[in-house]
């Protein structure tokens, strides 16, 4: 991949993340103003559901803000852009990610967590099991990644 192609790719990524952050902020403001959070927080299960989803979305939003900042820095500096391009297309990193199953585990964990949050309103045991599964998968993936990073 050439630098120009990578530049277009990260510009698209930045736009997508900015749209996500904008939608997240807009929904949050609307829910705060309408008082939905206060209404559902009275019930323990629904309170847990709202708190967990709020915390997770807040974490995702924070990660997006950091990544957008990183992309902005890279777009201003040619050297940083090349470093970022090399880092994302590094064959050793790709091999480690393949070996620890990150390409499958990360999207799967995200789907399982989303299912867990959705099922919080229906069955607490099922949802907590799903969330624990996602956390376990991510922990295993991290441990394997550390192991293969040391090995290779």
């Amino acid at each position: 991949m050439t630098i120009e192609e990578f530049k277009i790719k990260i510009k698209i990524r930045k736009a997508a993340l900015s749209i996500f952050l904008f939608i997240y902020a807009a929904i949050n403001i609307i829910l705060r103003i309408s008082g939905v959070y206060e209404k559902i927080s009275n019930d323990f299960e629904k309170g847990f559901a709202s708190s967990f989803s709020l915390g997770m979305l807040l974490g995702l939003a924070a990660a997006c803000v950091i990544y957008v900042f990183k992309i902005n820095c890279a777009l201003k500096d040619e050297k940083k852009l090349k470093e970022l391009c090399n880092y994302e297309n590094d064959e050793r990193r790709a091999m480690i990610k393949t070996k620890c199953g990150a390409y499958v585990i990360l999207p799967m964990s995200l789907i399982i967590t989303a299912a867990g949050i959705t099922s919080l309103c229906l069955n607490q045991t099922v949802s907590i099991t799903l969330i624990c599964t996602a956390v376990f998968q991510l922990t295993t993936c991290c441990i394997l990644k550390l192991y293969y990073s040391k090995k290779y």
């Binding site: 050297k79 470093e83 391009c85 090399n86 590094d90 064959e91 050793r92 990193r93 290779y152």
Partner: protein, 73 residues
């Protein structure tokens, strides 16, 4: 696999980071190749060798790879 990358880097006064930037990889990958933990792919080996103006065999030592006697000549 043994390589001549550290020797060539010293000769051309090049840091691992600078070499990594030139050949399109990361410093960690260059370190792993140098210590023999990771075997570079053919395109990366070619890029490294081409950067120093040498052939792949001149940069990477393939003497520890055994070949079968029935291979084509």
């Amino acid at each position: 696999m043994k390589t001549r990358i550290p020797e060539l880097r010293k000769k051309y006064r090049l840091s691992q980071e600078a070499l990594a930037l030139e050949v399109g990889t990361t410093r960690q990958t260059i370190t792993s190749i140098e210590v023999g933990k990771y075997t570079a792919s053919l395109p990366l080996a070619y890029k490294i060798a081409h950067y120093f103006g040498l052939s792949i065999e001149e940069v990477f030592d393939f003497s520890d790879i055994s070949f079968s006697e029935n291979n084509f000549k």
